[in-house]
C-alpha cells in the first residue's frame, strides 16, 4: 500500500519508513511560528520549561502582524514581548513593522517555508504553506512553546481526503478562493475535521501559487488539520529564487489510501459568496440577490497577494467606490506593497476612493483598521464570517474573491464583476 504526500512527509520527520493514519508520532519541525497575539502566551510557557535557548534561532519565526502597527497600549506591550524575546534569543526571523507582512504571505515570499517541511504555527491559518507541498498546521501557544524548546511536536497522522478539480480552465472571475469556498460549501465547516485536504486535478495544476495559497489557507475552515498541494513546476519556479536551504519534493503514490475522493468540474463553479455566519453558507454569485454593503475589505492572508491586487485593480480601474461604501485594501507584505505601487495599482485604488493600508491582520479579525458598527455589513476577501468577526456582534461579513469584493464596492451591493460596465 502506498502513502499520501502527507504521510510521507510525516514519516520522514518522525524517522520512520512509513506511518499510518491514526498513529501518534513525535515529529521534528522545520519552522515554528508565532504572532503578537499567540507568542506572548508561548513565551511565558517556554520560560516554564527551563531551557535557556530555543532549539534553533533560525527556525523560530516571530511576526507582529495582528494588532500592529500597535493599536493600543496593551497591544504595544504584547508586541514588545516578541521584540525583546527575539533580541534575547538572537532570532534571525523576526520582522519589525515596516519590514514585515501578514505572516502567511511573508513566510513563503521570504523562502522561510519550503516544500517537504513540517511546520507548526500558533495561528490557525498556518495551513497556508501546504500550497508548497509541506505539512503545515495551526496549533496553540503551548504547543508552540514546546516546539520552540524541543524542535518537535506530536501529531496524530491524519487521514486524507483527495479533492480532484477537473477542467483545464477556470470560468471568468473564478479563482482559488471560489474553488475552496465551493468545497467548504459542499462538505461543511467540519467536513474535513482532523483530516488532510489534498487538492489535485488539472485546474489545480493550472492555478498560480497565489491561488494555491488561498486554497490551502482556508483548509482549516472545513475543520482540516492541513491542506496540501503536491509540488510541480509552478512550485519549483516559485521556490527556487527564494530558498536558502535544501528542500525535498514529495508526491502521493498512485495506490495511496484516501478516506474519500471528491471530484468537481470547475466549469460548474461560479464566483462564490459565503453568507453570515459560517464559511459553509456559500451561494453562487448569481443567487445572491440584493445585499447592500457598508464596507469592502480586500487583503489578508487569504487574498492579499499580488495577483489579488491586480484583479481588484482591473475591476476598479476607471470607476469610483459607491458613495455609501468604504473600501479598504491591505497588501500582504512590504514587497507586495512596493510592487503594487510600481505597477500603478495604488493610483487606481486611490483614484477610485479606496483607503490603502500598511500590511496588518487588523480588520480580518476585528482588531483594528476597519471595524464594523452594529448592523453594518461588509464583503471581505478574508477567511471567516463568524458572529462579531469584524466588529460588533450584530454586524455581518460576507466572504468572496477580490473581483467580487471590488465590483461590490463600486455598486454598493454584492455583485458579479460582469455587472460593472
Amino acid at each position: 500500500m502506498g502513502m499520501t504526500i502527507t504521510e510521507k512527509i510525516l514519516a520522514a520527520h518522525a524517522g520512520k519508513d512509513r506511518v499510518e493514519p491514526g498513529e501518534l508520532i513525535n515529529s521534528k519541525v522545520d519552522i515554528v511560528l508565532g504572532n503578537d497575539v499567540t507568542a506572548p502566551v508561548a513565551i511565558k510557557e517556554f520560560e516554564k520549561i527551563g531551557v535557556p535557548d530555543v532549539f534553533d534561532k533560525e527556525k523560530v519565526v516571530l511576526i507582529p502582524d495582528h494588532f500592529t502597527p500597535n493599536k493600543d497600549i496593551k497591544s504595544a506591550e504584547q508586541a514588545k514581548m516578541l521584540r525583546e524575546f527575539a533580541k534575547k534569543q538572537g532570532l534571525t526571523n523576526y520582522f519589525e513593522v515596516g519590514r514585515m507582512g501578514i505572516e502567511h504571505c511573508l513566510l513563503p515570499e521570504q523562502g522561510i517555508v519550503l516544500p517537504g517541511d513540517v511546520i507548526i504555527g500558533a495561528d490557525s491559518h498556518t495551513c497556508t504553506y501546504g500550497a508548497l507541498g509541506a505539512f503545515s498546521t495551526g496549533s496553540g501557544s503551548t504547543d508552540m512553546a514546546a516546539a520552540m524548546a524541543a524542535g518537535e511536536a506530536w501529531f496524530k497522522v491524519p487521514e486524507s481526503i483527495k479533492f480532484v478539480f477537473n477542467g483545464e480552465e477556470l470560468p471568468e472571475w473564478v479563482g482559488g478562493k471560489d474553488l475552496i469556498l465551493y468545497a467548504i460549501g459542499d462538505i461543511g465547516v467540519d467536513g474535513a475535521l482532523y483530516e488532510a485536504m489534498e487538492f489535485t486535478g488539472p485546474a489545480i495544476r493550472n492555478l498560480s501559487m497565489d491561488g494555491r495559497f488561498t486554497m490551502a489557507n482556508m483548509a482549516v475552515e472545513a475543520g482540516a488539520k492541513s491542506g496540501i498541494i503536491a509540488p510541480d513546476q509552478t512550485t519549483v519556479d516559485y521556490v527556487e529564487a527564494r530558498a536558502k536551504r535544501p528542500y525535498k519534493i514529495y508526491n502521493s503514490d498512485d495506490d495511496a489510501k484516501y478516506e474519500k475522493v471528491i471530484e468537481y468540474d470547475v466549469a460548474d463553479i461560479e464566483p462564490q459568496v459565503a453568507f453570515p455566519h459560517l464559511p459553509e453558507n456559500t451561494k453562487p454569485i448569481s443567487e445572491v440577490g440584493t445585499v447592500e454593503i457598508d464596507q469592502a475589505v480586500i487583503g489578508s492572508c487569504t487574498n492579499g497577494r499580488m495577483e489579488d491586487l491586480r484583479i481588484a485593480a482591473k475591476v476598479l480601474q476607471g470607476h469610483e467606490v459607491h458613495p455609501d461604501v468604504r473600501l479598504v485594501i491591505f497588501p500582504g507584505t512590504q514587497t507586495i506593497y512596493k510592487q503594487a505601487m510600481k505597477e500603478g495599482l495604488f493610483d487606481i485604488f486611490v483614484d477610485a476612493g479606496a483607503a490603502v493600508s500598511t500590511p496588518t491582520c487588523g480588520p480580518c479579525l476585528g482588531g483594528h483598521m476597519g471595524i464594523l458598527a452594529k448592523g453594518e455589513r461588509a464583503i471581505a476577501t478574508t477567511n471567516r464570517n463568524f458572529v462579531g468577526r469584524m466588529g460588533h456582534p450584530e454586524s455581518e461579513v460576507y466572504l468572496s474573491n477580490p473581483a467580487v469584493a471590488a465590483a461590490s464596492a463600486i455598486l454598493g451591493r454584492i455583485v458579479s464583476p460582469q455587472e460593472v460596465k
Binding site: 501518534l24 497575539v37 499567540t38 502566551v41 465547516v189 475535521l193 479579525l365 458572529v387 468577526r389
Partner: protein, 164 residues
Amino acid sequence: MEFQGKAWKFGADVDTDAIIPARYLNTFDPAELALHCMEDADPDFPNKVKQGDIIVADKNFGCGSSREHAPICIKAAGVSCVIAKSYGRIFYRNSFNIGLPILESPEAVDGITEGDEIKVDVDNGVIYNVTTGKSFKSTAIPPFMQELIDAGGLINFVRGRMKR
C-alpha cells in the same frame, strides 16, 4: 477527577471568536479574559456562570482560530469541564495542553437540557445527569493524551523529556 455543576447549553459550530472575541486579545490575563467568556454566543454568560458549571455544546465546538485564550477563558470563568458532540481540532489539543477537561459524547449532549445538574467522572468517562437520573459514556481519551494529563500538561511533559 470528578465534577458537579449546572449545564449551560450551546448549539453547533461555536467558534473561538464567539468564545473569546479578538477585540479582547490584547491581553492574555486569564481573569480579564474570563470577564468576556462566551460573550458573542451569549452576552450574559460571564455574569450567569458559577464556579463548577459545565458547558454542553453540539458538534464542532471551538472551531476556527487557534487562540489558546479560548480554553483559558473558559477555565478561568470557573467552568469545570466541557461536553460536546465533537471539537475543533486545535481547541481540542489546546484544552489538553492547558488542563481544561473536555469530553466527547453525542448521547450526553442530546440527553442534557439547560439547567440540568450534571456529575462528571472524567477518569472513567461517565457523565451522570442528576436531574433526569440518566447516565452516559464519553469517548475514551487516547492513551497518549492520558499520558499528557498524567504528566500535568504538555509543558511538564516536555520538561521531563528534555531532562532525559
